[in-house]
Symmetry: C2
Subunit: 322 residues, 2 copies
Amino acid sequence: MGGLSEADIIACLSSGYPARSDVKLGVGDDGAVLTPPPGRDLVSVLDTINEGVHFPAGTPAAAIAHRALAVNLSDLAAMGAEPAWASLSLSLPAADAAWLEDFAGGFRQLADACGVALVGGDTVRGPLSVAVQLIGFVDPGRCLTRASAQAGDLVVISGTPGCAAAGLRLIDSTAAAAEPLRKAFLWPTPRLALGQALPGMASAAIDISDGLLTDLGRLLVASGVGATVDLERLPLAAAAVALLNQETALALACNGGDDYELCFTLPAAAAAELPALASRGGCQLTSIGRITAGSALDCRFKGEPAAAPESGRWSHFDGEQT
Amino acid sequence: MGGLSEADIIACLSSGYPARSDVKLGVGDDGAVLTPPPGRDLVSVLDTINEGVHFPAGTPAAAIAHRALAVNLSDLAAMGAEPAWASLSLSLPAADAAWLEDFAGGFRQLADACGVALVGGDTVRGPLSVAVQLIGFVDPGRCLTRASAQAGDLVVISGTPGCAAAGLRLIDSTAAAAEPLRKAFLWPTPRLALGQALPGMASAAIDISDGLLTDLGRLLVASGVGATVDLERLPLAAAAVALLNQETALALACNGGDDYELCFTLPAAAAAELPALASRGGCQLTSIGRITAGSALDCRFKGEPAAAPESGRWSHFDGEQT
């Protein structure tokens, strides 16, 4: 299979990472030996992406690696954690040297940018699938969860949700305007700086990788509250509106997944801090509604009750409903 | 798909675990929040098993879950670590309630027996595949690695390697004598007690999940040494000899994978401790050879040079060579 042994594959995947002093033993033994930072808690996440489910066949190898790591970095961001150690389990139907180099480069580039060391994992034969496990650090009591939103809090989102889903729909488009949308799908940016700026400010947070309304709904259930969302305040990407239309762009903003933006709740008294938070997070922040005392997720359009868009929704187990 | 939502699946998989005081936040948020034990190092492992590669289609769900966890427990055992926290990423083609209950039960039973809490992970659509990540604890400086074997050390193995590979060959056999072999394949026992007894005694260790000679070879490379193995000292399961024949049983003991036994090296001065180690480890231990100053892995049969059996070898990337 391309002349690559398992040892060749491991060497290709694991070379070029900067040393971290808290990694006593990295890739190459039965396990990695790691020294946790004294007095801090760990945040552990593990997410898998599969070909044909989370990315189409033919996606560039570097983009697959980037996505597998970004999905997990986004989960750490939503917890307010600082990423540290990654493990990678790669299932491959065949070991192709060029593909593997490309994959390793994509993983390394994002890991480097986030200060993450690859410390272990495995490589096995099977349908193309990438599982990444990450460990990050948080100060005790400073971890963000989904469970502490309070009635009256603002509902805030980062970036322009729906871009990635629009990019996936336009993956074969030749329109120049589709390029930033495709980029949003292929090279999502986890909101690590924002996540680390939120503890002590936000009351609750979640990443909206499964779609804004779906993930906001999970936050509401976990917190035992409701929310009102003003649909006209959702920031839509101009390219998505131009290439798909307003209604579709809004539906994708509500229901499209794979953006890895954060949705968080902010006590109303801290509303004036939003511009400073946006600056520290390096991204646009938009207040789109309010937490309510009930349990319903109500949508409004310019003050009038409105049905939540149903299209563009995605469930890994039910398939896409368009 | 069987009426199961992702939330149903997560509830099925994550219920029934005993509380651990070091788990501040378990399954259900974007990540798990864990408090590491002060002054100890962490050992992190991540291994995936795929249907059709690591287990045949039709393997009972509980046995698949057991295997996915056992593979990783075995890696922790080889490092001398005490298992603590598991994350589970399950790729499923469809969500079947009965299958999932069976799977969850198999995972929980082994986790409970080892004091492991399930703290996170994900469930996604895709070909049947199970990735498990485990974190264990070791005292600093007490971790076992592959890299410290010394010339003159004994080469020791636990149990009777080759049983699992024999069980896989006899998976459809109706012979009563095949049952313990099938059990060795379907329900492997990670050698946790032995692993935790080895630090301070063994000079190096590895688990032999890919086959004794393959994994011993890795230990030799990591340590920069050679070894001589006396093939007639390999403990063979009587059932494997009876049902397959002596030659095949020996080849599977040398090359068959999936046993999750440990191979370790012991300074010759500690040879008298082997019975006590076997007692603490709860398993048979057999000295099968010696570490040498060279770099070759030489096999002997009753003192005469002998070729290493070639059959029964397994490589995830090259396929089985029989």
